[in-house]
Structure formats: C-alpha cells, structure tokens
Subunit: 204 residues, 2 copies
C-alpha cells in the first residue's frame, strides 16, 4: 500500500517544492496555501501541521531561494583557479543574473516575501541569506588581495558589489529599463560593464 499511505513521508519539503513550482509556472499571485496543498496531494489544511501559517511557508521558500543561489554560485566558480578571482566574481554575478531571470518570481519572493519586521522569527532564513553574503564577501576579499578591487573595509566593498548586481538584476526583471535601450548588447555584457566601473583592472 505504498500508494495510499496516510502519512506523506516528507510533506514539508514536498510543500516547499510545490510552492516553488507554482511560482515558476503561474507566478506569485497564484501562490496560495490551498493550491500548494492540492499540488502535494493533501487536504487544504494539511500544511498547518508543518507551517504556522502562509508566511511561514514563504519563509521556507525564501530560504530555499538563497540555498539555490548559493549552490548555483558555488558550482559556477568551483573549478576556477584562485589566480583569477576576477573571473570568479564575474561568473558569480552572471549566475546571480541567471537565477533571477530563470526563476524571477522565486527570486522576488526570496528578497521581499517576508515582512521585514518579522525576519527575526525565521532564523533559518537569516542563516541562508548570511551564507550567501559570506560567499560574496570571500570572493570580494580575494579580489582585493589580488588588486582587482580597491582595498577598503571588506563589508563596505561587499555591499557595493552586491548592491550593484542586485540593483541591476532587480530593475531588469521589473522591466524598469526601456526595451529599446541596449538593443545590441546582451544583459550579460551590460552587467560586466557595470562591474568594471568598480574594479581596478578590467574584467573581460
């Protein structure tokens, strides 16, 4: 009777996964608790055994967002030599852009799905986001040591790099840049040009 057992087995993760699927297929406005439950094959109130409320599920989906960004960055830079930290930085930025373009609603909910004031209630979320920030920080530190980036307080430069990339990507997926701008160049090329406005040596 493996097909019809009462317990799901791993419903919590199934719900998170179902939510992320809905985000990618139908967008944020279609993300309802009941639809997530149906997609996971359980009744409409089943999620309440694993999540306090909808906000709690969104917190988990957001944490998973940071985890996926982290994994994507790691797998993109893991084979790059430490001799070229600027290439790591470039590839990390491109991976960030790629995630935002591919999973735009997941990206969006990851950054503003949780009410700012309630963030302390979700330690797992804070942990996931901090891990991403630390990863970027390490990249920036490498770049500073090899003269790619100016030597200023590490947190300061990290915030500069992250803000530039995050701002560009956010404005891009929100379509704040006119369509006819940047006809010829791709979004990837433009992002690298922006990065080069901060770096001391050119990233190609």
């Amino acid at each position: 009777m493996r097909e019809k057992k009462y317990h799901h087995g791993d419903l919590k993760n199934a719900l998170i996964k179902a939510g992320i699927e809905i985000l990618s297929q139908e967008g944020i406005s279609a993300l309802s608790l009941r639809k997530v439950a149906t997609k996971a094959g359980v009744s409409h109130a089943a999620p309440y055994s694993h999540f306090k409320d909808k906000q709690d599920l969104i917190a988990s989906i957001s944490s998973e967002g940071f985890n996926r960004i982290y994994e994507k960055l790691i797998s993109r830079i893991k084979d790059i030599s430490d001799d070229y930290p600027e290439i790591k930085l470039k590839e990390a930025a491109l991976a960030y852009l790629e995630f935002a373009l591919t999973d735009s609603d997941h990206f969006r909910i990851t950054f503003s799905g949780i009410i700012e004031k309630d963030k302390e209630k979700y330690p797992e979320y804070i942990k996931s986001s901090l891990r991403c920030f630390t990863l970027v920080k390490n990249l920036v530190e490498e770049c500073q040591q090899k003269g790619i980036l100016e030597k200023c307080p590490l947190d300061e430069m990290t915030v500069a790099i992250w803000s530039l990339v995050h701002g560009f990507v956010s404005l891009l997926i929100d379509r704040e840049f006119s369509h006819n701008l940047f006809e010829k160049e791709t979004q990837q090329e433009l992002l690298i040009k922006l990065l080069n406005k901060i770096t001391l040596k050119e990233i190609k």
Copy 2:
C-alpha cells in the same frame, strides 16, 4: 447638503491616497480594495467605477510612487548650482534613500507591485517611471561633462548609478545587511561611500 452628496467628486484620487495611507500605516499585506473603499467613505464595489480591478489601482499607486520620488528629487536639487553636479547626484541619492526608508511599502509596491508582463497595459506607469529615469540621466550627463563620472555611453552610466543606489536601498529595507554591520556609520554615509566607488572625483 454638501455633506451627503451621492457623488464623491474626486473618488479616484481619494482611493489612491487612501491606498497609500494604508501602505504606510499597515503595510502591503493590509492593502485590500474593500479597506481602501471604506477609508474613502464609499461602498466596497465603488472602486470598480474607476479601476478595472485591484491591479489597476496598484498601477496608479505605483505611478504616484514614481511621481513622489520625482518631486522629492527635484525639490532637493533645484537650488544647487550647476557648478557642483556631484552634489546634485549625492543629494538625489540621499533623497531616494529617504523615500525608501520613510515610505518603504509604497517604495516596494512601486517597483514590484505590477506584474512585469502586464506593464504595457499601464502607460501612465511607464510614463512616470521614464520621467524619473530621465531625471537621473540628466544628472549623470552633467557629472560626465564636468569630469565627475567616466565618459561612457550615457545610458550605461545611468544604469550603473541607478542600479547601485537602488540595490543598496532595496537590500537595506529588506534587511539583508546584518544589523551589527556598519554600526558606527549611518546609512547615508555608507551610500555616499558606495557612490564614490564609481565617481572619478570624491563626493563628500
């Protein structure tokens, strides 16, 4: 009978204003059509005489968001001499930050309240956002002409500046920066430091 007339007179704007008030007092999650209607003193379905649906009201609230940002920037830089475009740029960035911090939910909904795909349906929104972009572009152009910013394609540098400021401000109101970071310096000071990573001459 001025007190009890059937027609409101300017209900459309009253609804937009009521919506913005709710955003500032109770946040995005509390923004419902019915509450907006009640706040404006009309019945729950009255908004449908002026807006196609909730999304349409949000589009108007978002347009007004860009208008307020525009006005805020203008009034902040209008008295600054053309001899100091870097000060204009600095004050504009600070005004942007101030709006985001003061009206964070209005800021948030302005940038991602409208479904990206549907943006073409709201020409008023596009017009308002373009006006802001153009304002920033003019500032950037002045800075390039006076040697404050590198001379590259204007749109490219505008996107760089806007992305940096917007990214920082967005991450800030989403509390993505750890609390204990940047204890000593204010957010304003930090923003200026970030800008200085792009400018050729130091902005103080």
